[in-house]
Symmetry: C2
Subunit: 258 residues, 2 copies
Amino acid sequence: MQKFYVVGIGPGSPEQLTPQAREALAQADIIAGYGTYVKLVQPLFPEKEYLQTGMTGEVKRCQLALAQAQAGRTVAMISSGDAGVYGMAGLVLQLAAEICPEVEVVPVPGITAASSGAALLGAPLMHDFAVISLSDRLTPWEKIARRLKAAAEADFCLVLYNPRSHGRPELLARARQLIMEHKEGEQVGQTPVGIVKNIGRSGEQTIVTTLADLDEELVDMFSTVFIGNSQTYIQETPAGPKIVTPRGYLPQDNGEQA
Amino acid sequence: MQKFYVVGIGPGSPEQLTPQAREALAQADIIAGYGTYVKLVQPLFPEKEYLQTGMTGEVKRCQLALAQAQAGRTVAMISSGDAGVYGMAGLVLQLAAEICPEVEVVPVPGITAASSGAALLGAPLMHDFAVISLSDRLTPWEKIARRLKAAAEADFCLVLYNPRSHGRPELLARARQLIMEHKEGEQVGQTPVGIVKNIGRSGEQTIVTTLADLDEELVDMFSTVFIGNSQTYIQETPAGPKIVTPRGYLPQDNGEQA
């Protein structure tokens, strides 16, 4: 059966590309993707044919790539992180049903920013968490706001993708405001916040702060933002401050932090 | 600086172990972990020294491993999936602060079941999602229930870890009931549900069903359960039924499904 791989390449470094993902790229006659991500894999497979499109040309990009599959070529469409988390796996499946239902779409998972960013910050996601994109390009803000409120009220840890997309710095400020209003407790402002930029690429940076002190200006479109639950705390370590969300293994996890 | 790696090995297959994780294991003098996971990496590094403990001996396992680090040895503690998602990264950081604050704890991310399972099911997590563990061993059921309700009301996609832990089959049934009561709409019973078992290991299996038809008896402790949002649908493909959550790229994503 003709295969169309939708490959999560992880944050960007070849060190975080799984052997399964690398093998899918090796099998492909043509690798399709947004220009920035194509540049990350091109050094690994310089001989391959590439199909590049702009950031917001997702439908066109998938249609062009599926036309290649229809013509009998093995295609790998890449997404950074995991193709199944705000990546291209869904759109490719949807369009394949119309364009070439005989082609088998094979999603290949990658390390998503929730995982790669959390590792750099310490262990912020050791308990239940919600992943929310702040981009209102495809989703009405009312829906995003409803999810932010619900997650804050139920004391989830939070991971915010696209915290400052399309030049809209106010989205993160509005999200922060909603979260602070809907979290319980007197210490809400002290909730740890981690910002991770350019994970696995040049310019990789982590910032550990709090909801009260969060400076939205430090967040850009290549950032992911982590917000703790009511038990999350900041721990000083030889490698700098880390964010830890306890899971309940230790007696002090279930009372006050020392 | 003395390093202690906390390594997410992914679902189990070497094909989903990142080069970064493999390198951390290669650097280690001793590899520590729960027996089932140790068996997954032992074939890759048969010469290494291993420190195995039982499933619920997490604190003891971390203390023993940290004592090795304190004695000057490089340790890699493994978790399946991502060590930062219901794995050992948090507990190691917490205990290191007491036992050997001079050791640098280095979390190495892995492919968590949300990603690896979603890929096998198609694209169920293309929009905002919540990750919840149903295990009430470390978390009061009231807290779990509160999060299930909030996630259902705010129309998150859901990923349930430990859906049937410690021989408690009723937890998933209770979760299903709560979710059905708190999701909006008349078609709640038709919400797609995916079950993935033994990801990346022998016995790998996927089941695509709905909230109304979910048979809890099919779910075991090695399963992960995915539940769609109000727009998620089941798509027939040459590789069987797949679960797709649209993100809003296509006109029909924002109206009724055809």
